[in-house]
Symmetry: C2
């Protein structure tokens, strides 16, 4: 389920004032349906005497508030004994819930809430415990340090989600992610009101769950890296306490090499099989023609259906290349005997059988686009990696669907690129209201070829918060500047949950540099981004595998350079004549720091093999800094830069944007505009080279 | 067990070249007994193909090496599947162990090892698995990034500890420390070759262990913050895998209010009792005159003796003020009837009874100085918070002892102050060799009035590494400059173990400032230290309790300002005429940054209640910066600064060193020297005010 991105260079638009901008001092993400802040009506102080009272007796609600109190303590640096429970109606925060939530969280439960904060108290009302959870996170987002101490501004917020399915998929198959990684990401999900954790648990590179019925799955298919059933239960319970459903995915009949190491009879080829170390789409696939396959899967799905209480069960179903089927005479014979004309027909046959097994065990089947065939019942859910067209097609045929196309976090796109993707744009926009109801929401996907437990947070966060906003907030919430402003604050706020998206970078860069002083390395890292899409593998110095260390600069660099974005904004303002005092000084300081950085960078590189590959980038950054300063000089003197100079500098930006060390010097783009402007030419966008997209 | 410190301002001595300096490029701490590095003999590269082979079949050794491989992966950013096991004798690291270690780790087991690294392979030989553990940490410390990749220099190291008992005590009684805090500190302990975790588990403010026999201990005495027995077993096992013994302490008969909440009959007063929230020495004490007390403690100690396998059992025994005993007529009558002339006699009677109970359950009694009375058997161990004199006295009477005086991490002293404390200086130096054998080593103590799970690492680390060196390395290892240089590197290396001593500071300062840009706050924090000794409570704005948040600047500031130390060195060099090119420029840049910082600091303070208290410090820092620049001007011009100017500036330093916000602007001390030098006067040390010591 891989897509190619048309890279859209984000243009900063100075939009008209929006609701988010008006109250942009509020650090809220996803932005609520309605926020009313009354200026001058004071604030609610959070002191040591802070207390919470509850109405309602749902034990899950009490646990929810206990978790909230822990979050509040961490956020304010208070201690385990601060903050207390109060008698009903007496708390500074009064939580009331209409009715208890379902024993097993269901799709479509009411998640709305109303939060009213005055200088005396806060009132949180919700029809369900789930709504209270969402409101408590809004409360936490409102708390900040003020001249009087920690406080929330007086405000009234009414809120409800736009879509009932708002998910994050983490791929534990390609690189195993330990329990603590999953837990902290569940914390982050709850913080931005996501409600589905889609857990990709089997892959060619590893089978990651303990099966007691078929223990060779994990014993021979995981290199010892798998979750015990106790750990699975722990995660399911942890997620439930945070209002998150856990949907397991066991990919079949393809993406299944790791199953076959212990159980080769399941496969369509002769075997033997070993755990795959490379990345890509591979030949091994289950044999859909043998009854023993279905017997195995019936028992296996039965066991997993018990372990994962959620109503939905994801069977994958993507990317079967059919080569093992083509090569197996018995399978060919079976196809002829059953009038199955293509491998797609054979897979549909398989899916029909599997769907019945899943249903028999009380679950609803979910799968990637490929499983959609009219012979499957209308209950199934399609997760689309192909885009809105296939979602629209599915909805018109009566199938429910989820959008994941445009939300692939591994492709290293900018937050803006993800943020503009909406389940209801393009082909889905014209659906009838009834068909639109079938679009349940979306899921971001964290495929794990190039992430480790150390840097996975930095690929998910903070971009995930913007996708969460897309799926929760009204469709009209689209202001990019407001989004970026709030996302930076939310990113910092998420640190209190133990997410490592910010902190890991420093540790990784210190390891790379072998010392404390990483400023020269940081100057470069701030100016680059990893190559995009699926270009990393193609640009790799040698064939990457699941054993390749992920400890290089490209692994420490964030997917989006916020510094480059800032610089673009400054250059655009300068070029369009909107320069404000100090802007040029900031540009000059930045360019000078680049120009002077290379000597320090080279000193670091002399001590570290991990820095050397970026030497050409550092050299170019230095040249870009010098070019920027010269361009500013021409502009300041009101003098057009001469043609030869301009050509030479544009050649430099063209060279600088070429990928090296699997990194792109993205600041070359605003530099091109500045150089063009200095020559009196209209600025144009510098496209990423095709091989880096 | 509290001591007052005579603050010794550390004087930087340019010592003659030492062994540590000669090989100071090696990041080793504790410094080994013997290190031979042959220049030009190459290095051992750590590549993906790195493998380890073992000789010996101790399952603990195999686990040890598995943990080592995980550490190596984290340190190099490699993945769970990198690095492998090799057939015996074929590994790039070959580990051989003489014999398996004891089932339950014992005091005095051989911890020596020999590590030989060549460009082809490394060989680690040790008589025991414990020695192999120590050698593996040395191996990890040697690994660093080089121009060729991660590598170790060719070297031969022979090593053994100076003392058999090298510990860290963590007080989980006053502030509860969750399991993950304990685990990461055990990792840190193993990394610097410590071998005893002394766990202070009961206090007036909390009883922290689940007792199944007496469940009201934790149910009523812990506010819900206690370790389950499963968690205790998990920690004991985790520690064992890292070569660390776990010695529990249950403080009795004093420091025991939390016991009495659930079991008031144990106490000497009428009750009822509630969990203590204040800090200090309190009246409640167990009733040593009732048989029911001993029956209870017999059953309790029996239960705990099962839970904690170590041979030693710490009964505390410190700081009984005797007031409840004085006020209880039955106790007075008992004392008369048994000819107990003082409360000390009564406590000795209690200790004798308890010691027999501890012995009955197979354990050796350990306690603080106060328990030492000649009627106790010679098996007991005295932990001295009073100093070398009481250790020497105990040893002469035939008792074994440990030094903790001088190693109290809560007192906020400099690393140098801890480093110069040696179990064999002063009164112990003149002991006979046989008596010296009775000094087992020492323990650092992390008392927890002013630490939370968030900042406790920053109080323990990196200073603990220097104390670990004192207890492991030869007594002659005393070079302060070498120690500080290596400690800074080890501090960074310890980040890979997940210790938060560095990372928590940024998160805490961002919380205090309420934003990303904390540079003005960092400039101040770099120049201050928390007040020392026991002055924090006296200087508190209001009575501190266990509920007081620990989220202020004083809680984020490290115990020792390494920037102040650096500055002192520069000023000393300048004043003594040893100035090198660039030194003055560095001083000028620092002073200018202070001078210009206040305006930014005030802008931060306008938004945050947590910054306001430090405004006077920021003002003074600014003034010190200006004074420093002027002093340099006088020195540069070869002109004596005028008397009135000098007097005014010295008054400033005197004012600046006064504690505010429980912080000391320690950089005032080198500034005084500079000002004096500018006036042609001999520089003198600026003493800390008495109320901040």
């Amino acid at each position: 389920m891989r897509v190619g991105w048309v890279v859209v260079m984000t243009v900063l638009v100075m939009a008209s004032t929006t609701a988010e901008q008006q109250t942009q001092a509020l650090r809220l993400m996803p932005w609520p349906e309605s926020v009313k802040e009354v200026a001058g009506s004071g604030q609610l102080l959070i002191q040591n005497s802070f207390s919470v009272s509850l109405s309602g007796t749902d034990p899950r609600l009490r646990r929810t508030v206990a978790i909230f109190l822990d979050d509040l303590r961490r956020q304010t640096g208070s201690l385990p004994l601060d903050f207390a429970w109060a008698e009903s109606g007496n708390g500074q925060l009064q939580v009331s819930v209409g009715h208890t939530s379902k024993e097993i969280q269901e799709l479509g439960e009411d998640e709305s809430y109303t939060l009213e904060v005055t200088s005396a108290a806060a009132t949180l009302k919700a029809p369900t415990t789930l709504g209270a959870m969402r409101g408590l996170q809004t409360f936490l987002q409102l708390v900040r340090i003020t001249p009087q101490g920690f406080a929330l501004p007086a405000a009234t917020i009414q809120d409800r989600p736009r879509f009932p399915w708002r998910g994050l998929m983490i791929d534990s198959g390609r690189h195993f992610m330990p329990i603590e990684v999953i837990k902290r990401n569940l914390d982050g999900m709850a913080a931005v009101k996501l409600n589905v954790f889609h857990w990709h648990l089997s892959e060619n590179q590893g089978f990651r769950v303990e099966s007691r019925r078929f223990p060779k799955l994990q014993e021979m298919g995981s290199d010892g890296w798998y979750y015990t059933q106790d750990q699975i239960r722990e995660i399911v319970s942890y997620a439930r306490d945070r209002g998150i459903r856990v949907v397991p995915e066991f990919d079949m009949p393809g993406h299944s090499t790791a199953w076959f190491v212990g159980y080769p009879d399941l496969a369509s080829g002769p075997g033997p099989y070993s755990i795959e170390r490379k990345w890509g789409v591979f030949d091994p696939a289950m044999d859909p023609t043998r009854e023993s396959t279905y017997k195995f899967l019936d028992e296996f799905i039965g066991e997993m259906a018990q372990l994962f209480p959620d109503k939905f069960f994801h069977i994958g179903g993507d990317e079967v290349n059919g080569k093992e089927w083509d090569a197996n005479p018995k399978i060919q014979q079976f196809m002829r005997a059953h009038s199955l004309k293509s491998n797609a027909d054979l897979q549909a046959y398989f899916n029909t059988r599997i769907q019945k097994i899943v249903e028999k065990h009380g679950k609803i089947t979910e799968g990637w686009d490929e499983i959609l065939r009219p012979d499957l019942p209308k209950t199934i859910v399609i997760q689309s990696w192909r885009g809105q067209q296939s979602l629209a097609d599915a909805a018109r045929q009566g199938y429910r669907g989820l959008l994941s196309s445009g939300y692939y976090l591994d492709l290293m796109n900018s937050t803006a690129q993800h943020y503009v993707v909406d389940p209801f744009t393009g082909p889905t926009a014209s659906l009838s209201d009834a068909d639109k109801e079938k679009i349940l929401g979306g899921e971001a996907c964290m495929w794990a070829e190039y992430v480790s437990p150390e840097n996975v947070d930095s690929r998910i966060w903070p971009r995930m918060a913007a996708i969460a906003e897309r799926l929760w907030s009204p469709q009209s919430t689209t202001d990019l500047n407001s989004m970026y402003t709030r996302m930076e604050e939310i990113s910092r706020w998420l640190n209190a949950y133990g997410l490592t998206h910010s902190s890991a970078r420093t540790l990784m860069l210190q390891r790379i540099a072998g010392g404390e002083d990483i400023s020269a390395l940081e100057t470069l890292v701030d100016a680059v981004e990893p190559v995009k899409g699926y270009s990393r593998e193609a640009l790799a110095p040698s064939q990457p595998t699941s054993l390749t260390p992920l400890n290089r600069i490209v692994d420490a660099a964030p997917p989006e350079s916020l510094e480059a974005r800032l610089l673009s904004g400054l250059v655009d303002a300068l070029v369009s004549g909107k320069i404000k005092p100090g802007m040029e000084a900031e540009l000059r300081a930045t360019f000078a720091s680049w120009r002077d950085n290379d000597i320090h960078f080279r000193a670091l590189a002399a001590n570290s093999a991990l820095i050397q590959e970026a030497l050409p980038l550092s050299h170019d950054l230095s040249a870009l800094g010098a070019a920027g300063l010269e361009a500013l000089d021409y502009l300041d003197r009101g003098e057009k830069s001469p043609q030869p100079w301009k050509s030479q500098q544009l050649a430099l930006t063209q060279a600088a944007i070429q990928p090296r060390a699997q990194l792109i010097l993205v600041v070359a783009a605003p530099l091109q505009k500045l150089i063009q402007a200095s020559a009196g030419e209209p600025p144009t966008e510098l496209a990423l080279p095709k091989n880096a997209q």
